[in-house]
Symmetry: C2
Subunit: 406 residues, 2 copies
């Protein structure tokens, strides 16, 4: 297949590119490199030393003899460039990662909220319109998030995208109806993925676009089979308060003898998936494309759920790190259950890597190996979800008066 | 109250401004005048001769002694201007009409699709962020549309925004859950109103914004009590294929002896409301604001439903006009039932103007009076919903080979 990967320089984008190239596909990266600019804005850098995209592509070619295309296009701003590129290259599939993907970043300020909405909405819509306009019938695979559903839910298992409900018809009789599972996003970032879902539904119905939406859990892990092959192919690893996900931040805290900062009680339950499984899921989704006229195909792309406090305890046991409870900067339920259906990927052959299996190698191969590159100041999460919460967190900031408990 | 009307120069915006000013409120119009630019783009003009917004405001002041503020701000592009204006003026309420509001215009081309999504999404989100950022606690009243629900529904009465469903919890027990009534927008324009709804939900929940969303039917009628007071206060009347709604276009066709062009069978059922009732509903909504922390308050703002063919027959009887069936440029069900709940406005005292009462005066006072200003070329609807439909309509364009039947 010829595959375009929008956002192919990013955290999941890059290992996806390598995985698909390794499978023999012709892969083109389309990226505006905005994630690198955001590193500059925030004054942070990947824990792992990361080369330029051009250099990464060169190394991959030297190792494998496989070419990767790189095209500097801002999908959100350069509609004409995107459309013309698609019309010229006619990819069989387009994988869409080209969105701002950190919830805390999306909540930092009014400017960051607007940027996230404008960037993500325009990127997705430009792509949908360009696919419609060129008529190339490429399968669109989008990275969504489990987070669209919120976590303060009623405690029902989250199905894969759709829900069968009953409504009363005009004669007062019960009738079945399939609807998109209702979303309740918890941040501006998550909200944009909920907006994406509405746009996908429209373009699948109106123009017959073939779309798969992957509702992904929190990704952990750094390496895939391909990124391990050369030091300069290494993936990025974010540990800062905006882009670092909970597990990465615990690993880093453990590596530098900083207490593991648990927000609130740590009773929040989240869904997780290893990076290696992500790229496998994407490859599986590519092989199982919907037909024109089909509804949007939605997969839950996650493999296990854990409470935050249990993750902290697991890492504490492995490393001896202390645990500290700090005020939660997010507006969310203190505790929640979470059960997620992922039957589709399991049926299609996914054999998950579990945290129990893979976590220790992350501690040793990544966190400890690169501990000398950690900037302690960047570890606390400082983006507060509301003005009230900002005022509360301000009086008890992380890293200053940590209430250590273990 | 001090009230800002975003889009106060538009079709419903202007009569709303006059109605509220007449009630004694301090009213400020914020508008980028984009609707006037679109007239220029399309080479069309309002049937009724319409003055500049500055002149309209001057006349109103001369007649009533009441000042209207006018502020040229592009809400979608000038976030900083909007935020600073709100911080300085601290309105008690903001009425948000500042969106591209024609479904056919939104489907004309890739450029029009992108413009509609970028403009409408950014306008709404900029406003939500500016309200959050300034903390002025103004009541936001938004003009939405019944069209978010689509018209090929299962034939259930459309409730006012929310639906109670049952889901199974983790113990397998049925549990009640209130969700937003599922949307199924039929055009890019309608889709943007569905996106708005998600954004409203988020900002009401996360930041306690007080929001009312009015899901409006198709507006008919030209005059309100205030616009009748002076020839230069007259409202706009659109009859072209993009901005003219079905009833306006029938009226104009009748006035110039052009057959009433019914798309498809005319079995499409739509919800309607008179312009005078719109502005009354908005005033009622203002007096019944939600409290901080409340869910978004959603009203269905319509008063009666009709099949398109029945409207054509009604006008045909009044005027002797012929009816012609032409291919439907929209992708929609051939026929549909539609029952809409509007109990909330009725309970709050709305006494609807019916088509049966008001239609004749539209024929005489508006369509016939200004018939000399009609450009026949602009009457057919030419925006097709999909490329397939465009090809079909192309071979049987309206106004060329009309299949007249009466």
């Amino acid at each position: 297949m010829k595959i375009a990967v929008l956002g192919g320089d990013g955290f999941v984008g890059w290992p996806t590119v390598l995985h698909l190239s390794d499978q023999g596909h012709e892969v083109h990266i389309i990226d505006n490199l905005s994630r690198r600019w955001i590193d500059t804005e925030l004054g942070v850098q990947s824990l792992t030393p990361m080369d330029s995209i051009q250099e990464r592509c060169r190394i991959w070619y030297e190792l494998t003899g496989r070419r990767l295309g790189f095209h500097l296009i801002d999908v959100a701003k350069d509609y004409d460039l995107l459309r013309n590129w698609l019309a010229e290259h006619k990819p069989d599939a387009v994988i869409h990662f080209a969105e701002q993907r950190a919830a805390p970043y999306s909540m930092k300020s009014d400017r960051h909220k607007n940027y996230t909405v404008n960037n993500n909405t325009s990127a997705t819509h430009n792509l949908l319109v360009a696919l419609t306009e060129t008529g190339i019938d490429a399968h669109l695979v989008h990275l969504g998030t489990m987070g669209v559903y919120g976590y303060s839910s009623v405690g029902a298992a989250i199905p894969e995208g759709y829900l069968d409900i009953e409504i009363e018809d005009l004669q007062g009789e019960k009738k079945g109806l399939e609807v998109l599972y209702p979303t309740k996003p918890g941040s501006v970032y998550h909200m944009t993925k909920s907006l994406d879902q509405i746009m996908f539904q429209f373009y699948a119905q109106n123009d017959g676009l073939r779309i798969t939406d992957l509702h992904q859990g929190i990704v952990w892990g750094t390496h895939t089979e391909q990124t391990r092959r050369h030091e300069q192919l290494i993936n990025r690893f974010d540990y800062d308060g905006d882009y670092g996900t909970v597990l990465n931040r615990f690993l880093i805290q453990a590596a530098i003898d900083y207490p593991l900062t648990v927000h609130g009680t740590g009773g929040q339950t989240r869904a997780f998936i290893h990076l290696q499984d992500c790229v496998r899921c994407i490859a599986i989704a590519l092989e199982n494309a919907p037909k024109a006229g089909d509804r949007v195909k939605i997969f839950n792309q996650m493999t296990e759920t854990h409470r935050v406090i249990d993750l902290a305890n697991m890492i504490s046991k492995m490393t001896g790190a202390e645990i500290a409870f700090v005020p939660n900067p997010r507006k969310e339920a203190v505790e929640n259950d979470l059960i997620v259906k992922n039957d589709q990927f399991l049926a299609l052959g996914l054999d998950p890597i579990t945290l129990a299996d893979g976590l220790l190698s992350e501690v040793v191969d990544v966190a400890k190996k690169y501990a000398h590159r950690i900037d302690r100041k960047r570890v606390p999460a400082t983006s507060a979800w509301t003005k009230d919460i900002a005022a509360r967190v301000e009086t008890d900031p992380e890293g200053k008066r940590l209430k250590s408990v273990s």
